[in-house]
């Protein structure tokens, strides 16, 4: 499942320690690897791996669709670990008495709002389905089986379909890592 390569011991390993949880490197041909990647040693001195919770927000009127295209990684290759989404009414609840009453989570509102994610190339990452099928919350994000590799060149088109009876605000968050 994972590529095989070995990390030269003299440099402490080229594999970023952050990845050690996710793969165990083994080597096939170390010399060949070093010949092909002469700048491998420079990796240790370039920046650091950093995590980012990237968010996009949509306001979707009832009974309508909103389509927007994004490059979530700003042109950089990135790894996506998990995703969360909240769906709320565009207007916060009021109460006849103070304080307002908030809907308990989880509820069926998320089943009336569908999300599709399609890559620029036409490949659909996430087929249209209720947001609750494919996204979690901060307390339990939807973690991918293995971190996903997103190309920095790829745009993604998000289609939000609001089949509920109220205007909603949808915020989607991706936990990703980039250099």
């Amino acid at each position: 499942m994972y590529p095989d390569w070995q990390f030269p011991t003299h440099a402490g390993g080229y594999g970023n320690p952050l990845a050690s949880t996710y793969l165990t490197p083994t080597v096939a041909n170390l010399d060949e690897l070093c010949e092909k990647l002469p700048t491998l040693g420079a990796w240790l001195r370039t920046s650091r791996v950093t995590f980012l919770d990237r968010s996009i927000t949509f306001t979707v009127p009832k009974g309508s669709n909103v389509v927007q295209t994004f490059n979530l990684t700003g042109g950089f290759d990135a790894l996506v670990f998990s995703r969360s989404a909240t769906v709320v009414n565009a207007v916060a609840p009021l109460g006849a008495i103070a304080p307002p009453v908030y809907a308990v989570l989880w509820n069926t509102r998320d089943q009336y709002v569908e999300i599709q994610v399609e890559r620029q190339g036409g490949s659909v990452d996430t087929e249209q389905a209720p947001s609750i099928n494919n996204f979690g919350l901060g307390l339990d994000p939807n973690k991918r089986p293995s971190p996903e590799w997103w190309s920095g060149k790829d745009l993604r088109e998000f289609t939000i379909s609001n089949n509920s009876g109220a205007d909603v605000k949808v915020t989607i968050t991706f936990t990703l890592v980039l250099l």
């Binding site: 440099a11 390993g13 050690s20 980012l52 919770d53 968010s55 103070a98 809907a103 307390l139």
Partner: protein, 195 residues
């Protein structure tokens, strides 16, 4: 400090990080013990085992009262910010984060009726975390997206290494119709040398 031979790295991994593998376990150990603000022997790995201990800490940031949004349209959220350095100048490692959002005025009644959790209140309060350098760690999003609770924390994919000399600005935006108290908790590790 010079790069330590990988053959020696395994021996330097602090037992608190033994479950994270040799590579990252050593990186985490080095992050805390190799910090000159935390450890007088920061550049002498052979003495690290004599220095202090790794301590876990639930560090809290509180926004006592963030007023209700101005009713619209358009709705104008009320914004509050704080500058924090969770490590007090020391390098730290952040493992998880939790948050609660409650009304500033507790319910009354004999006995009072409390809302069931989880509920949508935290979905109407947005939060952003930005580093001093300008890099945004957590883009503006409902607290519900990025924080958990004590019984279900938002555990980071990999423990995050936060620099000791970097402050962070936390911005809270209240889109709801009542004033709220927001309490954020970060579960972190730091080097406790008694200093």
């Amino acid at each position: 400090m010079a790069i330590i031979d990988p053959a020696k790295q395994a021996a330097l991994v602090n037992p608190a990080f033994a479950n994270y593998g040799t590579a990252y376990g050593f990186r985490m150990t080095e992050w805390l013990y190799g910090d000159r603000n935390s450890n007088p022997f920061w550049d002498q790995p052979d003495k690290w085992h004599t220095v202090g201990r790794v301590a876990f800490l639930d560090r809290t940031v509180t926004f006592t009262s963030v007023a209700a949004a101005t009713a619209g349209p358009p709705i104008i959220p009320t914004v509050a910010t704080q500058q924090v350095n969770l490590g007090g100048g020391k390098n730290v490692i952040v493992f998880a984060r939790m948050a609660t959002v409650v009304n500033t005025v507790a319910p009354v009644g004999a006995p009072p009726t409390y809302s069931v959790l989880p509920n949508e209140q935290a979905s109407f309060v947005d939060l952003q975390i930005q580093r001093q350098s300008g890099f945004i760690d957590v883009e503006l999003a409902p607290i519900q997206n990025n924080f958990g609770f004590g019984w279900k924390p938002n555990i980071r994919p990999v423990p995050e290494l936060w620099l000791g000399n970097e402050t962070r600005q936390i911005t809270v935006s209240n889109n709801g119709n009542n004033a709220v108290k927001v309490v954020l908790t970060f579960l972190l590790a730091l080097l406790d040398t008694g200093r």
